[in-house]
Amino acid sequence: MSEYRMLTGWSPGWVRSAALYDGGDHLLQVNSLRVQHEYQRFPYAEIRAITVTEAPLWTTGRVVRLLVFTLLVVLAMLPAKPGVRVALAFLPATLLLLQAWSLLQGRRCVARVISLSGDWPLRGLGTMQAVAEAMPLILERVQAAQAGLPRQAMMPVIEAGKSEAAYRHPRELGWVLAGTLLLSALLIVLYSARPETRQEIWNIAIFVGPGALTVAIAWWRMLRRHQTVAAALVATIVVDLLLFLFYLLLEWRRPTFSLTLAELTLMALGWQKVALAAAIGWRVVAAALAGWVAQQRDEAKA
């Protein structure tokens, strides 16, 4: 059994990523190079300072990549034969999805730790979400480890609890957005299962098949932390509207314009909303039931 407890998820990165672990008396940073782990240990008693700078979400490079991949997807949709469209759009669509996923990771940041051994990058704190998750415990550990050290009068008291509120960014949002996108894509694929496209349907279904699983995971995660459900719901509605406009545009391009696809999309969106509402409702009911049971137990003990 490992003595370490994970503080953050793995920071975003294709080649290199990092995560922070709590080792009781020290902070462990694991730098992963995919085929090798490198460990850095920072004893809590020796940490002098931690700095976190929020990086802009929309960098020039990111905007350019998004525009280029979107343009490539649109160009790939121009050929008449659906099979050719899928073959051409597969790579740019995958890259576009990866970019979208990167955006869904939330606001990025650059963090460093100054310890007795020097000034080091804290790559494990790569997103503000990670900062919100990890900093309260790190502050608590450092304060406990350095409780015996003299503190100068000019130094303000470190308030561990308040940093979380300043940085709250629900990770479930990302799951729901990704799940919505993939599930919607799956529904569109199912709709497209007409005789002329039936040959390619399985190829596409394999590509988007994990969508249902992703949505299930998103809902499961939301059930565990109901405070982010409202934000997720709003985000899902926004994404659904964008998807609806996109589908409408696609359908408009067909020789025989019909609203069947749009209607089906609306039905799917409605079903998702019902499921989300059920998730919220279940959470509220479960919390109420748990409270009632606890109250009954306390009364029985009294």
């Binding site: 008396d25 085929v35 300072a49 700095t51």
Partner: protein, 189 residues
Amino acid sequence: MTAMPRCNLCGLEVPAPDWNRPEPLPCSGCQAPVQVWVFPAGWTDVNGKPPAAIAAEGMATCFHHAENQAEAACGSCGRFVCSLCVDGSGEQAICSVCFERGTAAGEPRFQRRAPLYDAMGLLLAAVPLMTVLTGPIAGVFTLVTWKKTRTVVPRPGAIRWAALAISALWLAILVGMVALVIGAWDRSR
């Protein structure tokens, strides 16, 4: 402090009044929100001071540096060591000799890196580069290195199982291809 807290984007020093604020404040250089936590160790000289010289006869001296006053006893070998010799990581002071020995022996608390054989097997099996050949090889590699991945943090066992499954798939494809070739050769005869 040896290093002042700086904005991590523009490198400008963050002034002391902006430290330990409950919310991030905009950097005066690049306007990016910066939050700085400075701890008591940043104001005190916990371990970074030079080793104290022998003050008087009869005081304990460092085992490795006879001219230096002993600061602590090594938690591993028990020898008195000065601050030059102590590795401060962890609750116990560990002398540099024990640290090197522990690192060489692969003790978890001294481990600095760990090769991920399971990830290597998975990459070998899944990366589309002659995978018909490298896939089965990856299976053998995964089996041989089954218990060799020793990380200090928990690691999911599913990675090596995935490598093995993909490898088995490629092995089946390879066997099928060989059977097809043999069948075609037989028919041609």
